[in-house]
Amino acid sequence: MIVEFGHFALVLAAVMALVQAVAPLVGAARASYGLMVLARPAALAQFGCVVIAWGCLTDAFVRADFSVRLVANSAHSTTPLIYRITGVWGSHEGALLLWVLSLAAWTLAVCLGSRRLPLVFAARVIGVLGAVSTGFLVFMLATSNPFVRLLPAAGEGRDLNPLLQDPGMIIHPPLLYMGYVGFAVAFAFAIAALLGGRLDAAWARWARPWTTLAWVFLTAGIVLGSGWSYYELGWGGWWFWDPVENASFMPWLVGTALIHSLAVTEKRGAFRGWTVLLAIGAFSLSLLGTFLVRSGVVSSVHAFAADPARGSFILVLLVLVIGASLLLYAWRAPRLGGGGHFGLLSRETTLLGNNVLLLVVAASVLLGTLYPLALDALDLGKISVGPPYFEAVFVPLMAPVVVLMVVGPLLRWKGEAVRALRRFVPGAVMALVLGALGVLGVSRAAAVGWPGWRTALGLGLAAWVAVGCVQLLWERIKPPRVSLPPAAWWGMWLAHFGVGLFIVGATLVGSLQSSLDLRMRPGESADFAGYAVRLVQVDERSGPNYDALAATLDISRAGRPVAVLHPEKRFYRTIGMPMTEAAIDVGLFRDLYAALGEQLPGGDWIVSLHDKPFISWIWAGCAMMILGGLLAVVDRRYRRGGRRR
């Protein structure tokens, strides 16, 4: 009964979304007050309906109601309660419901946070969000209804994929989706500006915090996904350039370009058309990401068996959104007007340069991700594009981005004389010295001669960022200045500094990491990366829905104990799937990572050991970017500045 109630709520949500789309947009076009004020109540009602539907589905999972097909497919009566609740979004249908729920939540936030916006504008924004929501709700009801019953009911469920039975999986998808969907808000702002033919500094000030918040969520989602693959997949890698990772990384790249372009639009009124185009692009890539993951067209570690019919539906949705918005752009963009002029050596130039570079990177990732799919679809052969391509492209293209990222904030708006470049000389020299010291350190630590140009470049860039951030801070707070910079400035500073930390981590883990696959007998010791590793024993252990073999590894260095690790080999009973559960000793300067392989005939075990220097710096750098983004969102300026003009 509750399930039917949820189903009904979902249908009602689709109707409400349609009202939320049509009434305000028509009202705005006809200047009808009565229609425009319908936007908020409709959005509220839609949110309520989606929450009810969500609650009903969660209830079915908690009660382990196996007469619902979705529950029978991705839960088992022995699945721990927490994974029954998070199992709601462990499947395609549930993930879509999560998508729609995030969109409804964003819409609600926009409704509550837009009271100071002109009614026409707010109505258009909410209307566009309603249209997107309608599309997805219809998609769900037509092809992937989570409330479909299973008759006769299954006696027992099939359990959730063990890879998803993990704390990282609890929060990774919601954060990622909040990011994806958050760009829908930026998109709605852009479409509303095109429809209204007005795009000014006030518009950019409204759009900025929303876009930055979406970026924060997306960043957090990507980082959690990366962390999850690091400790869950048992290979010790943290980024695989897997099509699904790329699917979330492309909107991130364009979104990063967007938040910077918005800054220029707000401060200088320039880049207007460009900003709108980026907003459309970021959201389109979010949709593309959803399509790639949900249609099962990509062959990747995320590729679960999926239904191609759903893919075509999302593809149609994608074409509609991109086509309609680009058409609107072509028609209305000339009205937006140009921006202020700026000199060759100005903050605008560096931001423009970075914008273009970020787009080129996004395009190259897109090429590497879609080309194999296109070839396959046209039956021209099967190819794959692996990490070597992405690394060969990504590093040289991002290096100038990092250089400009430091130069930009130190330059003035509008333009400066060439001699302003003299200010960068001391910093550049210091960065070179620090970078060279770093390279020396690495070549001693790894006992190699020349650690490679990539290491040298990475360390040099990281030093450049660190020195540049210190210089930026000094120039901002040096006497006689008395006032402290606003929160948004600190946010920028922190995020840029975080990029520096990230580069250190990514570079050093790449050049110093080592791994060893060993055959070990219980009681035997081995040397690895300066540590003595002893396999003490392997015990049987049983969890709620799995049986496990857990190894005990004593790790010591020069006779002193360092850590005891318990990597496991789990066998999930219902789903019949083995899983490697790695064990990690996390440290500030290195992680020690152990995974248990198969047991060989004769009682020996295969043990995989990884030494991951500085990998924590990657997470720390990303955490700083996220924190910086949050600081920028809460800046008082946006709350004060949203007033009606």
């Binding site: 273009v356 099967k382 295969i606």
Partner: protein
Amino acid sequence: MRARQKRLLLVAIGMVLLLGAVALVLSAFRENLVFALTPSDVRAGKAPQGRTVRLGGQVVPGTLAREADGLTVRFVVTDTAENVDVHYRGVLPDLFREGRGAVVQGALQADGRFVATEVLAKHDENYMPPEAAHALEAAHRAATTAVRP
């Protein structure tokens, strides 16, 4: 006029850099493409020697063997029409089984062995890697068309 020249200069520099970037992307792309082949393709000599390729197919039951070090494994991958010997040193993914689909990445050696550097794992027990499914399907198609007059 000066402002205009400046803008022209900016656009020109931008274009040159952009073209450079595009050239970099395309050359990296060409060098790093990995072709996915079936065992029949390999036997037909379509695999460039020494270059990284992917091989998809089914692991023939009973062919998985370990060398004395316990870490090096050998197995045969088939598309039902042709077989290829694969050598791999390392830990096999959790879902690797005899009789199931598998995708291996590596290079073909002069003696006809395929030395894999990577055995790809999949996340779902009931899921056939597309490359493996493709290989079996292609062999099946070839077999059925060969029978027809």
